[in-house]
Symmetry: C2
Subunit: 500 residues, 2 copies
């Protein structure tokens, strides 16, 4: 794989001087245009063998472009706050907003390659890791990001020569340390790991460029040229692209046509389920005590819990949440209500705002509405294109998979009510003075789209009820029953997780 | 001080049942109105002796109000990311945005009281710490925040009784641990520390309420009532308050009247200072090598550096920044350009967006424009009221003091050019095709206000050039001279800091 990067490619000083000024000017202009368009981020990954010129590349790109709008990201060992979240959290939080350029040094490629070269992880673990990388990059690319990956290569001999020459330079000998030489001794394993990594993550959406690293001038001009062409191509593509047609609620009934919408996963529910007040009170007390006990135990084990609440307006999500939290230590829970994203959130992939809110180890986080907005309200109201909400199922499954693999207890509730019960509750809210503020025109408008929302919820449950993160549907017509089922389910999940 | 909180105040079950429903309803309504107004945050601090009911208070307030819009903040020992920033960083990042309510458990009061009770800090250190708290709370209150502080008190005997009774309850005995009993043995020292703390931080803008903690019902109703009244009063005050008169550039010439504006700190500068090209090249090379060396040493010692650049348009800030960074390891610097704040930033105190960007230990952060916008552009353009920008000097001095005390090397550059030189550069930009985008209508508009900006810069330098964070004025008419002076100054600061 690296043969073509061991040819000894060079560029003369004269050639460099001839090419560099224009290239620099063009890159600067392209950066400015990308920024003023503000539609997508540019993500540049610089990886490869030590001494291959990663550092020099970051430096020259910062010189050629306006460094104020370039975000440089290099990674030290994970901080404790980073260790308490899934592996990709640190990369998500570092992503450049639309219009800006992020330079990532090794970043998500560092640990798979190094760990596999040192045989700290198995081949299967490597592959699993690379699959996550692919999903991560795909999600960003699908959202519009321009992703460019450069692998700087040096042959074993060239690397040795490079280290030796650095060591001779009194100003730069600090750049080579014992770890570099140790790695050099494992050159072959390192290259093997790199090959597999590049092979598996070389996708159409985020392709690798293998660059011969030994000659500074050649490397700089080659990378600069590839970057220039890609940025130009992307800008052209954006110009020629007509705005995506957002047809609210289109395709909603899927393959099966209009008929299917009426028969959903909710059709089979026994919505008559109920609980009398005395039973409710005693059950609630029982499970709240149990949950208090379980969450304290969970905290000691640094076990994090995420509880997601979705459901129609007036389904009783708020009431259920109140019963759950009243059993919890207020030091260690957080409720996160989600409505429209903020300006900073809109400048990122839609999952970014959920990643940013993942809490520290041991805490219970309650999401009052969540990332599922993408396939519910954004689908039905046409805020997301068909392509966007359709690929969101896989993106969400992958996101949740990462939570579960990080040993976070993930519980997803769909609190369901019938259309008739919703009407009854709306009317009650209208009549009760201190509740009337709860009811808005939007609620009535959403109600008109009941069938569209039902179909969207049906698809959501179908596509995102996975083995590791199944949906729990709560029959919500009777509030007592719903609240007890919710809290009992949380207890069940916690018990199971603590027994693991 | 705590006599009145040892009276054995109680509330009967009947009284509680009579008062609670209305209080709860009112609090809920007030929360809703505060949120829909969205003009100021409510910051509630709950502190006091263990067993005094801090936890119960958080719980009941979350029950009474809409818990989704209450932010609960409790603090564990600082994470490594928190330790790498000044002490108040963790509190700044947790502040509720305007319209929301934050419940802070002990928070910034925990370490001064506990550390002084255990004599880990001296009385002087305690006082210094309390002064910082006062500045912090004043800054928030001046920005509109409603701050309520509750100190839950128990007498020595009442605390012992409380612990004993908790230990007897199998469901709650975990709430008492060895540390609690150890603290109880130091009750008198603890109370002494608390008294001094309350005394010194009991300000008109953020007053303490001392609450007798032994009876749950009494405590809840007392706190709820105080909170209700304060929230109501604040809402009324906001309603009656007419919009502040924003008069652009008013008061600009200060006490001295119009004449004074022409004689500024810039009048005495020798703007003819220059450097020839050869000298420039050799000096630049020399200092860049030196800086590279110094920053590597700084990184090893986890020394952080913040470099602030301010100055008129076209003064050459960008060029100076480029020369500084080209000497740095791209792994460890970040340039932060500041223009208009984002939506999330506008919902917070103006310093919040600078606090949030303080980087991890060892890094160099370059602020291309900064918190000084408050007393420059915001003052001149009338984006801040007179009261706002006038109090900003002290707020900024306090902020920088915290940076310096955290051993961050802080360097502030005012890159100055004359009005004639600015015109020359504007005209040159106009004529040069690849530079013309740099020049906007706004630049011309700002230029018309040259004298107002000069006067604002003069005041800024006067009021914020402190012993620990002086301004460095760079004569910028000659770019070569300015760049070398900048980088030489950075070297001087780093050398001095490393010798400490």
């Amino acid at each position: 794989m690296f043969r073509t990067a061991e040819l000894g490619q060079k560029l003369s000083k004269e050639e460099y001087k001839r090419i560099e000024p224009d290239l620099r000017f063009e890159l600067h202009e392209l950066q400015r245009k990308t920024r003023s368009l503000g539609k997508y981020p540019v993500i540049i990954v610089l990886a490869g063998v030590d001494g291959g010129g990663k550092g020099d590349t970051v430096k020259i790109l910062n010189e050629w472009m306006d460094a104020r709008w370039v975000i440089n990201r290099a990674y030290r060992p994970a901080s404790d706050e980073e260790k308490e979240r899934p592996r990709f959290w640190r990369y998500w939080r570092d992503l450049p907003p639309r219009g800006q350029i992020g330079l990532f040094m090794s970043a998500w490629y560092s640990s798979p390659v190094v760990d596999y070269a040192h045989r700290k992880i198995s081949r299967d673990e490597l592959d699993r890791h690379l699959e996550q990388i692919e999903n991560f990059e795909n999600a960003l690319a699908d959202d519009g990001a321009l992703i460019l990956k450069f692998w700087m290569h040096l042959s074993r001999d060239a690397q040795k020569k490079r280290f030796k020459s650095l060591e001779k330079d009194p100003d730069r000998k600090w750049e080579v340390n014992k770890r570099d030489w140790d790695n050099w001794k494992r050159y072959d394993q390192f290259i093997e790991a790199a090959e597999r990594t590049i092979m598996r993550t070389n996708t159409g959406k985020a392709a690798w460029n293998i660059i011969e690293g030994s000659d500074n001038r050649y490397r700089r001009i080659t990378i600069g040229t590839i970057l220039r062409d890609a940025m130009q191509k992307k800008l052209n593509a954006m110009k020629n692209q007509s705005a995506p047609t957002l047809t609210a609620g289109s395709d909603i009934s899927g393959e099966q046509g209009g008929e299917a919408a009426s028969l959903t996963v909710f059709s089979g529910l026994d919505m008559a389920k109920g609980l009398d007040r005395n039973m409710y009170k005693s059950e609630l007390r029982k499970f709240q005590a149990k949950m208090n006990h379980l969450t304290r135990k969970g905290l000691k084990q640094e076990m994090s819990t995420i509880v997601v609440f979705e459901g129609p307006d007036a389904a009783g999500k708020g009431g259920a949440i109140r019963r759950v939290i009243s059993a919890l230590d207020p030091h260690h829970y957080q409720i996160l209500p989600f409505a429209a994203p903020t300006e900073e959130e809109r400048a990122q992939h839609y999952l970014w705002r959920f990643w940013r809110h993942l809490s520290r180890a041991g805490d219970v986080t309650i999401f009052d509405r969540s990332w599922y907005g993408r396939v519910l309200v954004e689908r039905v109201e046409g805020f997301a294109t068909n392509a966007e909400w359709q690929r969101a199922y896989a993106e969400i499954n992958d996101f949740e998979q990462q939570l579960v693999e990080h040993n976070i207890v993930l519980i997803k509730f769909w609190v369901h009510i019938t259309k008739e019960e919703q009407l009854r509750r709306f009317q009650e809210r209208e009549k009760t003075p201190h509740k009337s503020w709860k009811l808005t025109d939007e609620d009535w408008r959403n109600r008109e789209k009941w069938d569209l929302y039902s179909a969207a919820a049906h698809d959501m449950i179908q596509y995102t009820s996975t083995q590791s993160a199944p949906w729990v549907i709560v029959e919500g017509n009777d509030k007592y029953y719903a609240r007890v089922k919710t809290i009992r389910t949380v207890c069940d999940y916690l018990t199971q997780a603590l027994d693991r």
